[in-house]
Symmetry: C2
Subunit: 223 residues, 2 copies
Amino acid sequence: MHRAAEQADDSYDSTFTPRQAAVLTCALSLLVEGGEKGLTTAGLARAANCSKESIYKWFGDRDGLLEAVVTFQASKVRPLGADEAALDVAGYRRRLVTFARELLTVLAGDVSLALNRLAIGQASRPESPLGTLLVERGKHSVTARGRALLLAGKRQRHLTFDDANAAYSTFYGLIVRDIHLRLLLGDALEPGEEDFSAQAETAVNQFCRLYCTERSLEALSNA
Amino acid sequence: MHRAAEQADDSYDSTFTPRQAAVLTCALSLLVEGGEKGLTTAGLARAANCSKESIYKWFGDRDGLLEAVVTFQASKVRPLGADEAALDVAGYRRRLVTFARELLTVLAGDVSLALNRLAIGQASRPESPLGTLLVERGKHSVTARGRALLLAGKRQRHLTFDDANAAYSTFYGLIVRDIHLRLLLGDALEPGEEDFSAQAETAVNQFCRLYCTERSLEALSNA
DNA sequence: ATTGTTCCGAACCGTACGGTACGGTTCGGC
DNA sequence: GCCGAACCGTACCGTACGGTTCGGAACAAT
């Protein structure tokens, strides 16, 4: 029944009209400041210069609005082409560091934190699977990219492992640790922790000591 | 102006009377099912067979109630004596595994998840530092214990590291990974992930490969 | 018995929010 | 120039909740 993609002259998401996208952008910024309670239908209508009636017509009810916000934000993550070029060990290691740094940067971003807080707040209501939605649309894409990166490393004999999921899980843990949770709690980062590049470096170093092939380790230590 | 500890004939926490403890216990269970919105003053009064007036007299306002709930729950974590006995490598490794398993068990518990969700939900309101409170009263005690455990390992020449905080951070990341976040989001654990003992084993294995002394590694592989 | 304290239960108030209805306006198509 | 669709702004309704007040029961102390 949703009017999604009744048109093809898009140049837009095809799921949201430009006007709706503008309203959703406004909703996102309201959500960033003020959390869940910061986003009320009346407040959004005022801030976005639209009417509540339109909001309800477009999104059904408030849950539909929240769902649309998540979907909208998820649609903005770039697909991030595979980029399956063969690399030497040092180059591949740099790719890992880049991934780790970007992961930390994303997780520490304002909108990511706001949406995660929103989804966590809704977790007690099983009927509105916002958490699942967020995980599937946002987290999985990052995970898939990381896993592909690790698999490429295995194919090029830089890494060795049996279970790609387990390897990525370890990688994730070494990178993120408890930083994400503390940011979600509103805790400030320690002075040293703000340097995501350095954090990414040490995480990749530790990961290599666990998963690099002997051949790669030698090549790295010779460099 | 807070009415905390006007009495000294405790035999109880000295911060809460038995009646108040009963009400707070009830508040906790309301919070576990239903999240933040599940805990209303009227609902708590009904469930705990007390009057709203008493609630407001004891805790001031709703924020005071939430704060009391967190404090109350934190007061129930056992101090967990140091237990600084010297152990051989295998015994020490078992201690690490126990710590890891208990950490996962605690984080996956109902009340822990509910309180963390509550604190995260309040993170957008900087005036009510529930997140900070939760971190300081709950998380820090666990962290302190883990760090002490690692330092004991270093003193007994099982581990080697410079920065105990960094080492514990790595340990935490290897154990928890993204499990805590996914539980907070209401995501179900994968079949294999529910075996916290196995998860703890592999985490400790990985941690040992990063931080164990060569001497300990040999001793372990000989066993 | 009287007084005072504590606390329950219920009624009450003000506010904020989700959701709906309606009048007025803009704009594209015929 | 007219029509209809989309939309804005606002007023409105019902409800839920935080917080206050009050009457009265239970109980202890004198």
